[in-house]
């Protein structure tokens, strides 16, 4: 059965983008150890940033007001300046992501767009993104090599695992 691998690359030759920096992913379809490019999925910049905004500081989240924040009943962390809060089920505030608020949310939106992939290849993966990938059982690989090398190695690996073949090399 075929499956998909998402690759963060600017030129479809070298894995040269971090997960956060990637504007989109090249999606490859793999069958056995053969692979071919299927499509390019791009994210609208504003889509991500607007998502972040709505998750943060917005009145709807029940936490934007700094007065509420930090009060015992506020349920919103330590009353940080961000005033950011849980967007419901999406795992709390901040958590040190670049965007300040939104935390895992920003990563989550991106992860959701490649949710049908089995694996993701990029140059670097941040902590939040890695966690979100794990939740969706997407194998994240942060490597610096050519796209061909990465895909060949990953496809060979999954092929062996799927067919219960030993990983012993040589």
């Amino acid at each position: 059965m075929s499956y998909l691998i998402a690759v963060a690359t600017s030129d479809a030759k070298v894995v040269d983008l971090g997960f956060g920096a990637a504007k989109g992913f090249h999606i490859y379809e793999v069958e056995g150890t053969e692979y071919k490019e299927k499509e390019y999925r791009e994210f609208a910049e504003e889509e991500i940033s607007s998502d972040v905004q709505s998750g943060c500081g917005g009145q709807t989240s029940g936490c934007g007001d700094t007065n509420n924040c930090g009060s015992p009943s506020g349920g919103c962390g330590d009353g940080s300046q961000d005033g950011c809060g849980g967007t419901g089920g999406h795992g709390g505030c901040g958590a040190g992501s670049q965007s300040g608020c939104g935390g895992s949310d920003g990563a989550l939106r991106k992860v959701n767009l490649i949710a049908d992939c089995r694996s993701l290849v990029c140059k670097k993966i941040g902590f939040q993104a890695q966690k979100q990938l794990e939740k969706k059982a997407i194998a994240g690989f942060d490597v610096e090599c050519s796209v061909d090398e990465a895909l060949t190695k990953i496809a060979t690996y999954f092929d062996k695992i799927d067919n219960h073949v030993s990983l012993r090399r040589g």
């Binding site: 690989f141 490597v143 990983l167 090399r169």
Partner: protein, 432 residues
């Protein structure tokens, strides 16, 4: 067909990190998954300097399986050299990197010019248990660190005996063996424990001979040293415990080393006199046949099973029931070891079983007629079955939960007395 192995008494080859731990100021660098060191360390003490919880480890994951973990290994070694103050760095590989084919030897060779020695031992679990792993470490030291020399030091003897930490008495036993050799005028050299370390490793090559006291562990190491370093060896298979075996041992070592016979006999006489003085003081206890069990079983590695069986038979006059060797002894050594169990005093012979499965060991203990309560000297796993049989139990082999040993020994004259004390302490408690 997949098989289940119930409560085995050894760990994987990577468990030999404890051998490295026993060398003062040596540190293992693990090329393995996260958690290996934690699981393999046990409560029998650490090196006192490095805790297994801080052993540098590449903590390899799925990415390293797919793309190889050599880069990570390189940086782990590089940074270990920077931040850890040690004398010897020993890279040990676990199962995963060896299966997927990381060339760890190649990475380690890049550190040939480092200020401190970095060596490498393949200790993947599928290569064998930690007894084999121990051999791999010694092999690595001989192959990659020790240099051949023609300058021999008269009377210098390398002693190889127990597997550190796997054997709870390793430290005390080595010190006791050193003491005995010193008394007959030889200069002992061991590499494990307090103030031995790298300076004693440096002396290995100038020894007159290697003395190996073990039924099979390290036979391959002394053979290698004979070939590579030109050091002859004396393989003495029985760990000498108690007067009879220790005197025999000293005579044989003395003869091999060319020590004056009278000197050896003088040492033996002095020790034996004191030994039998101690025994005679408690002769009433020993002759009171209700105190001690008639028959005994030892459940341990070949080293202790053989040593203790000989001691209890020859010195204490007990009758051996079935003995169990649990260290997965390689097949080529089994026949010779079985023969050793037939060389007991009073025309006695002991039946020995090589069995790694504790369930099967326990079934055989349960079905044997001990002519009363059994005496079982074994690992903690054997405590419950012995208690069910209302027998006396002493924890002398891995796993150890019933005993704390700091520097106690069971080897030699003194060691024999210690073991008698321990056994009779357990036996006499029954009557309190």
């Amino acid at each position: 067909m997949a098989k289940l192995l119930d409560k085995q008494r050894y760990k994987c080859a990577l468990g030999a990190m404890q051998t490295v731990q026993a060398i003062e100021r040596a540190i293992p660098i693990l090329h393995s998954g996260p958690g290996c060191a934690q699981k393999l360390s046990d409560g029998n003490g650490s090196s006192g300097y490095f805790s297994p919880n801080i052993f540098p480890c590449t903590s390899i994951n799925e990415k390293d399986v797919v793309f190889g973990g050599v880069k990570k290994l390189h940086s782990t070694i590089e940074n270990s050299l920077k931040v850890i103050d040690a004398d010897l760095y020993v890279v040990l590989t676990g199962c995963i990197p060896e299966i997927v084919g990381d060339d760890s030897g190649e990475v380690v060779s890049e550190f040939a010019d480092a200020e401190k020695p970095v060596i490498y031992a393949p200790t993947a679990g599928f290569k064998g248990n930690n007894y084999r792993g121990h051999e791999q470490i010694i092999d690595a030291i001989i192959d990659q660190y020790v240099k051949k020399t023609d300058k021999k030091e008269k009377g210098l003897v390398n002693i190889w005996a127990d597997v550190p930490y796997q054997d709870l008495y390793w430290l005390g036993n080595l010190r006791e063996l050193e003491k005995l050799l010193k008394e007959i005028g030889l200069t002992p050299n061991t590499i494990f424990g307090y103030q031995r370390g790298i300076k004693n490793i440096d002396k290995i090559a100038s020894a007159e001979f290697n003395l190996l006291i073990s039924p099979w562990v390290s036979v391959k190491n002394v053979k290698k040293m004979e070939k590579k370093l030109g050091i002859p060896y004396l393989h003495y298979s029985t760990l000498p415990i108690g007067a009879f075996e220790t005197s025999k041992f000293l005579r044989e070592v003395g003869k091999f080393a060319g020590v004056d016979e009278k000197k050896v006999e003088d040492v033996i006489t002095e020790h034996e006199n004191y030994y039998y003085y101690l025994i005679e003081r408690f002769a009433d206890l020993f002759l009171e046949n209700r105190v001690i069990n008639k028959q005994f079983s030892v459940v341990a590695d070949a080293q202790y099973a053989l040593g203790i069986t000989k001691f209890l038979t020859n010195d204490l006059g007990l009758v051996p029931a079935k003995q169990f060797i649990t260290d997965d002894t390689p097949k080529e050594y089994r026949e010779a070891i079985t023969e050793e169990f037939k060389k007991l005093n009073y025309g006695l012979e002991a039946e020995v079983v090589f069995e790694t499965d504790s369930y099967k060991v326990h079934e055989q203990i349960k079905s044997h007629d001990y002519h009363g309560y059994p005496l079982v000297l074994g690992g903690y796993y054997d405590k419950e079955v012995t208690e069910d049989l209302k027998g006396n139990f002493l924890n002398i082999s891995w796993p150890v939960k019933d005993k704390i040993v700091l520097n106690d020994a069971i080897v030699g004259y003194e060691g024999g007395i210690r073991l008698i004390e321990d056994i009779y302490t357990v036996a006499s408690q029954r009557f309190n």
